[in-house]
Symmetry: C2
Subunit: 454 residues, 2 copies
Amino acid sequence: MEAPAAAAAESSNNTNTNGGGAEDEGNTGGSSWWRLPERVWLSAVRSAETVARIARDDPRRVAHSLKVGLALTLVSVVYYVTPLFNSFGGSAMWAVLTVVVVMEFTVGATLSKGLNRALATLVASSLAIGAYKVASLVVRSEEAESILLVVFVFFIASAATFSRFIPEIKARFDYGVSIFILTFSLVAVSSYRVEELMPLALQRTTTIFAGVAICHCTTILVCPVWAGEDLHKLAANNLDKLAEFLEGMEIECFGENARSKNLEGKNFLHAYKSVLSTKDKEDSLCTVAKWEPFHGKFRFRHPWSQYQKLGTLCRQCASTMEALASYVVILTKSQYPEANPELCLKVQTTCGQMSLHSARALRELSSAVRSMTTPSSANNDLSAAMKAANSCRNELLEDAAQLQVMHIAVIGSLLSDLVMQINEITESVHNLARLARFKDPEKTRNDVVINVKT
Amino acid sequence: MEAPAAAAAESSNNTNTNGGGAEDEGNTGGSSWWRLPERVWLSAVRSAETVARIARDDPRRVAHSLKVGLALTLVSVVYYVTPLFNSFGGSAMWAVLTVVVVMEFTVGATLSKGLNRALATLVASSLAIGAYKVASLVVRSEEAESILLVVFVFFIASAATFSRFIPEIKARFDYGVSIFILTFSLVAVSSYRVEELMPLALQRTTTIFAGVAICHCTTILVCPVWAGEDLHKLAANNLDKLAEFLEGMEIECFGENARSKNLEGKNFLHAYKSVLSTKDKEDSLCTVAKWEPFHGKFRFRHPWSQYQKLGTLCRQCASTMEALASYVVILTKSQYPEANPELCLKVQTTCGQMSLHSARALRELSSAVRSMTTPSSANNDLSAAMKAANSCRNELLEDAAQLQVMHIAVIGSLLSDLVMQINEITESVHNLARLARFKDPEKTRNDVVINVKT
């Protein structure tokens, strides 16, 4: 019996873990320097392969890179064309800065950052000018005024920083708050130096708005990548993957040619695994999809959070599949004598029914989502599967005593697994203690004794 | 039988889901405007409570907010004190900008961002000056020169943006690359306007270094929050939580007062749940901990990635516990007649042994990690648990036929669960179809028919 769920989801996505394992492999040394050119060449080839794979996996990445280049070129052109340059003034660099930080992969993320930036700049500039006016009204001397402004900066920056710990603000306005702090500090601080504060603030705000406008136009008009569309496709794909697992189960485990011995290598047994690790991607896509305007078949207020609910259910389903997969592998590997063949056959038949009909129901749902048509409300496959599930439960319940022993046996078996896992944990802690040079308790005790003696 | 693992981990951390559920609750309306002041007051109280809770949960958040305020104040003072201001020139704003974006919660994150920023600025300025020199050597006319520079900006920005999709670069240098693009574009573009490029680039780089230095001093000297220490504590806490679950199991399920009926409300049954969702936190802490210098008991090259390995094992353990918890709850709720009481008693006793000894072994490990002492290598508790696990397995294997029926029954039971979950998925897709106004296939077909007729 393998440990179910979560653990598997981890293996797919741990670049960090691999990237940082250098501590353990310190003694590969004794490098032969004359093979250096060969090594350099090999690593160059490997890098090129990585780049090609990343581009092939999602060609929109290449398009995005070129889009960033394009947006920056547009800003530079604005800067170079002198009449425009004059109207933007020396703060044209703010447009460049805006483009670099605002351009994101999806339309939603770019819009969200751009609007955050524009709004935060406006609010912060107004507030800073207000603070400047208050300071100049309250005190007379220039020193006192600048001290008051620094005090304002201290308190407003602290309060705004704290607000970033509030989950609601963190989720939607994190970037906006940091721009707010930046702009407020800059305008408040520069107020002491610059006589004409209002025109400066106005000029900078205009430049930033121009930068944001260039970003928004580029991201929407040139090969747009809609977060909402990605989220929608992800939902349909998840449903398909769940169906794939059940189809495989039906054919390989409960069908006529069932009881094949080598299940572990089969693809269908891993179909659900990628579903388990979709949560983060789904959440971030959903957050930014809410900023996207009407596009394709999606309205502005499309019910994006429904996709999160659906995703949670799919992941729950996938983790039950994980448990199921490990039991099936054990069963096909074991060489038990046939016991209670009647019950086994009955359960096997209903299992086949359940898998087949559930898979069909899922396929219907995924194609409904894909084509954005309402799935038929009288789903025959689902009701057939539910019927089979009930009859399976009844068959098992018939022998209630059997069921109790089964539950106790499963608990015993899971606990034995736990002990083995704790054994691994112990080894891991010992490794950590060795590598991190933890104190040796024996030695420490001796030291203490010696200290007492001396 | 509940679906194991992942699903539970999700419930703990879904502010986004709740935050965005507004679509579904559109009809709370009919608001009575005279109750507006009351509502405003209530929501103000609620916000104050949230803020107080966030501050109480981790007082270091308040310290961090004040630190950001302090760092900005320091920069502002530098700006106001005129002799210093002259040496920094008009680019003092770059120091403000640096402080706002570089100050992070943990020392490691601040160091990582600061070093990224400093290094990227240096490299990008040099490269941009190089590009400027090349452009002025290759072509004669000013127009051609600026066109060439814009072309440089386009290609370098595109290539650098693409490099952010490479996982290794994304993990460690994402911020650095974005600063690289920014600085390169700014310097390359401004080269056309500013005659003395070198002094300008030098001045800006110096200012940014000063900002980074202020951030690093503030973050290390004033209430430092070490990511490494948090990671270390997280590991010990996870071990304790696993132990807590097993201790509860021993007392409530296998001990002398076992078979208590109301297990579901017990705390210990949820002890492991927070362990399941620690992966993201662990990964990000580990990434930044690697940037931290020697502090407390931690060396510079402390084996941080070991904590990730330990964390993966702990989460695997927690997901087995999840499966175990659901079986235990079912068993204590069920009213089966006693079947094979001899086997049940035997398994129960060994289960008690396994839980007790495993819990003790885990407690020893957690206290070893906490005090950073090597755990004793001859762990008596672990070997006792292993012995009990083996004897439990043997007891179960004695009745092999029983075991086969058990596995088949478990598979049948898991599949029935799956069908019920797919039923929920179906409902969720129907909800989505309704809210997103999917096309009705019937209607569409009729439309087509009409179209054909006309």
